[in-house]
């Protein structure tokens, strides 16, 4: 079967599962799954996420040529499956996590080390067939680099600063990093296990806390997945309000990030200046939506807030002030050679790597991968709004800053349009009691967030998998730091600002 086969054409060899919306789900048996894995070496199909159930693995794919999206499922025989990691390196850690949580072993992978399981839980394979475990913590075999004068620097899991925990193992020659290896999983809270059997509203609260900085985006992704599964559509006004909150979240995070990156280049005034602007946004959030980070305002079926004229005035004023202050800050950034000297040419990620891992967000867009879920597959109200996706090709810290800056401006334009076109009407739709499966794909400030959910007729979540864009960005950080000096690691790390919590689940 050679030639240009589309994803849907290929998957027609499998069995389509009924009740999966808005995109289909196909079940492939062993020979078909093998053929699929093989086909991936030639096809332009992007892996969006991979997850599991006790006896089945699922992978979400998008055909970049046609835009088709589908879930590919494979019921595992003997708790084993052919891993996709050889064709899609982004899958390697996902499959290691699947093995830890569900006991399904990916075959054909060189890296068999546990990932999320550090040997500290009382059970093994907690979400598959749990076995009690009392073997003590695992020793992790870091990869080594061998050579004259090489030394190791272990960092973490507790870091110096107010940041999340993770372990970094550097091999350095003098000041130059030869190899960085990450070990994550420290903040694993068992979110997939926690949401099982929970009512939809309780599960929504938990999923919205997968990564606190993206709480609106996770809220929208979960809500869209549930709405798809139940076959309902949120009212138009709710779509607009969700987008409004999502763009405010994006602006607030980008402001914080740019400030923090400059601070790590010892230019603290950017952090203070942008910190004040970020605070203005958070206060406007509080005034308009009743929560500074806008947690729990997106609910399945719609939103749990509304926008009055008074709120509009607050937002307009805030955005005007923030816009002015932000332009000043960026002028300062671009006119400070000592700062640019630190950010330009530092932590370069090759475009080829970004494409291989399917990394999105500012990490992808700074290295020439223009993908944005608001455009493809697109979701309301963005199809009615006018905005651009900034792209650059350099792939260094500087371009990741400039991409964020451009996105702040685009988000401001979006908010103006949203407030102008905000339709009248209700802000929630009732949720029917129905069983189904659904996927929601949403562009968070970090990149593409995908949530898959299966709900039961009783209105409970049977299974759910939230996917953070960081899964495909963390591995690239290891590549970005290679050949840079150790002292530039904080700078590179901040310019990625991957989520530990979102990744560790």
């Amino acid at each position: 079967m050679l030639g240009n086969v589309t994803l849907f054409e290929f998957l027609s060899i499998g069995r389509e599962v009924a009740g999966h919306r808005p995109w289909p789900r196909f079940q492939l048996d062993l020979p078909c799954w093998r053929a699929f894995e093989d086909r991936l070496s030639a096809a332009d199909w992007v892996l969006l996420t991979e997850w599991a159930e006790p006896n089945e693995v699922h992978a979400l794919f998008r055909d970049d040529q046609t835009g088709d999206i589908a879930v590919v499922s494979h019921p595992c025989v003997n708790h084993r499956f052919v891993g996709l990691g050889k064709r899609r390196p982004g899958a390697i850690r996902l499959e290691r996590a699947i093995h830890d949580l569900y006991g399904l072993a990916p075959q054909g992978m060189a890296d068999q080390r546990a990932w999320l399981d550090h040997g500290r839980w009382a059970v093994k394979h907690p979400l598959g067939s749990p076995r009690t475990y009392d073997g003590g913590p695992h020793a992790y075999r870091f990869r080594t680099a061998i050579g004259d004068g090489l030394h190791q620097i272990p960092v973490g899991p507790v870091h110096a600063g107010i940041i999340e925990p993770g372990h970094f193992r550097f091999h350095a020659q003098g000041e130059t990093v030869v190899r960085l290896e990450e070990r994550l999983g420290y903040t694993h809270k068992g979110i997939e296990g926690l949401v099982q059997g929970k009512p939809i509203d309780v599960a929504a609260r938990i999923v919205a806390r997968t990564s606190g900085d993206s709480t609106v985006a996770y809220g929208i992704a979960f809500a869209r997945a549930v709405e798809a599964a139940l076959g309902v559509e949120a009212p138009p006004r709710a779509h607009y309000l969700r987008a409004l909150m999502g763009e405010l979240e994006r602006i607030a995070n980008h402001l914080g990030d740019i400030g923090a990156i400059c601070n790590d280049a010892a230019f603290a005034i950017m952090l203070s200046h942008l910190g004040v602007l970020r605070e203005k946004i958070l206060r406007a959030n509080m005034a308009c939506f009743g929560h500074r980070l806008i947690m729990d305002r997106v609910v399945p079926g719609g939103v749990a807030c509304d926008l009055t004229d008074e709120h509009r005035t607050i937002l307009r004023k805030t955005l005007y002030e923030v816009g002015k202050g932000f332009r000043r800050a960026m002028a300062l950034y671009e006119e400070t050679p000592s700062l640019l000297d630190r950010t330009t040419g530092t932590g370069v990620v090759a475009g080829s790597l970004v494409h291989r891992f399917g990394a999105g967000g500012f990490v992808g867009r700074a290295s020439s991968r223009a993908h944005d879920a608001r455009k493809v597959p697109g979701y309301p109200p963005y199809d009615d709004l006018d905005f651009e996706i900034p792209v650059r090709a350099e792939g260094d810290v500087h371009s990741r800053i400039l991409i964020r800056a451009a996105e702040v401006h685009e988000s401001m334009k979006l908010i103006e349009q949203i407030m102008m076109r905000l339709p009248q009407g209700p802000v929630t739709a009732p949720l029917p009691m129905r069983a189904g499966e659904g996927v929601g794909i949403v562009e968070g400030f970090r990149g593409e967030i995908a949530v898959w959910v299966r709900v039961s007729e009783a209105g409970k979540v049977v299974r759910c998998h939230p996917h953070d864009p960081s899964w495909f960005q963390w591995p690239l950080l290891e590549a970005a730091i290679e050949g840079n000096i150790v002292a530039d690691f904080p700078l590179c790390n901040k310019s990625f600002n991957c989520s530990y919590s979102g990744h560790d689940l």
């Binding site: 999320l116 550090h118 500290r120 839980w121 009382a122 059970v123 907690p126 749990p130 913590p137 899991p157 507790v158 110096a160 600063g161 107010i162 940041i163 999340e164 925990p165 999983g185 420290y186 903040t187 694993h188 809270k189 068992g190 979110i191 296990g193 926690l194 309780v202 609260r205 938990i206 806390r209 997968t210 990564s211 606190g212 900085d213 709480t215 914080g256 923090a260 005034i269 203070s272 200046h273 910190g275 004040v276 970020r278 605070e279 958070l282 500074r292 980070l293 947690m295 000043r328 002028a331 300062l332 006119e335 400070t336 989520s499 530990y500 919590s501 560790d504």
Partner: protein, 177 residues
């Protein structure tokens, strides 16, 4: 051309700082903090506290608000409260998140590395009792499931004002005022 940084400095000189007045120390916090430690520490620390933050598994929402408490608007440092890089330099360990089992040992070791007299503050609903992550196979529970807590600052996440009020209560308690 006048460089942009001069613009910024000039504006700040003319317009004054962004900093808001301090909130009153938290009443709940003051009540919770009545213990025998204070007398030992009084005078030794004066009105200054060094804090080491440990994320024991949070969703990172609490970290965002801790950063905000350090921004020029709330400016925690003006009260003599500052975040330090090492537990060896700290008087207070401030812990966020439910304690994930993967982080429990690192947290315990950080606490052991902090020299006495020392206090432990649990920040956020998760740190109080595990919050919405309580009951998971991977979570030990709130911070008190692992270490003795002196002060809880609740909220999901607590606002910078709550954080300020809680830490001011601690400061007052330590300073013996």
């Amino acid at each position: 051309m006048i460089p942009p940084i001069s613009h910024l400095f000039a504006r700040h000189l003319l317009k004054g700082p962004h900093t808001t007045p301090a909130p009153a120390p938290s009443e709940d916090g003051l009540a919770e903090l009545a213990d025998e430690f204070a007398t030992q520490a009084r005078g030794r620390l004066g009105r200054s506290l060094a804090i080491r933050e440990v994320d024991a598994g949070s969703c990172n929402g609490c970290e965002l608000e801790l950063h905000a408490a350090n921004n020029p608007v709330y400016d925690l440092e003006r009260f003599g409260i500052k975040f330090v890089a090492s537990p060896r330099h700290a008087d207070v360990l401030l812990v966020t998140g439910p304690v994930s089992l993967n982080m429990a040992e690192a947290l315990r070791r950080t606490w052991e590395a902090t020299p006495a007299p020392k206090w432990l503050v649990a920040l956020g609903d998760c740190a109080f009792d595990g919050g919405c992550f309580a009951g998971s196979y991977a979570v030990a529970g709130g911070v008190s499931a692992v270490l003795p807590v002196d002060l809880h600052i609740k909220g999901c996440p607590p606002t910078p004002k709550d954080i300020l009020a809680g830490l001011l209560a601690l400061l007052q308690h330590v300073g013996g005022k």
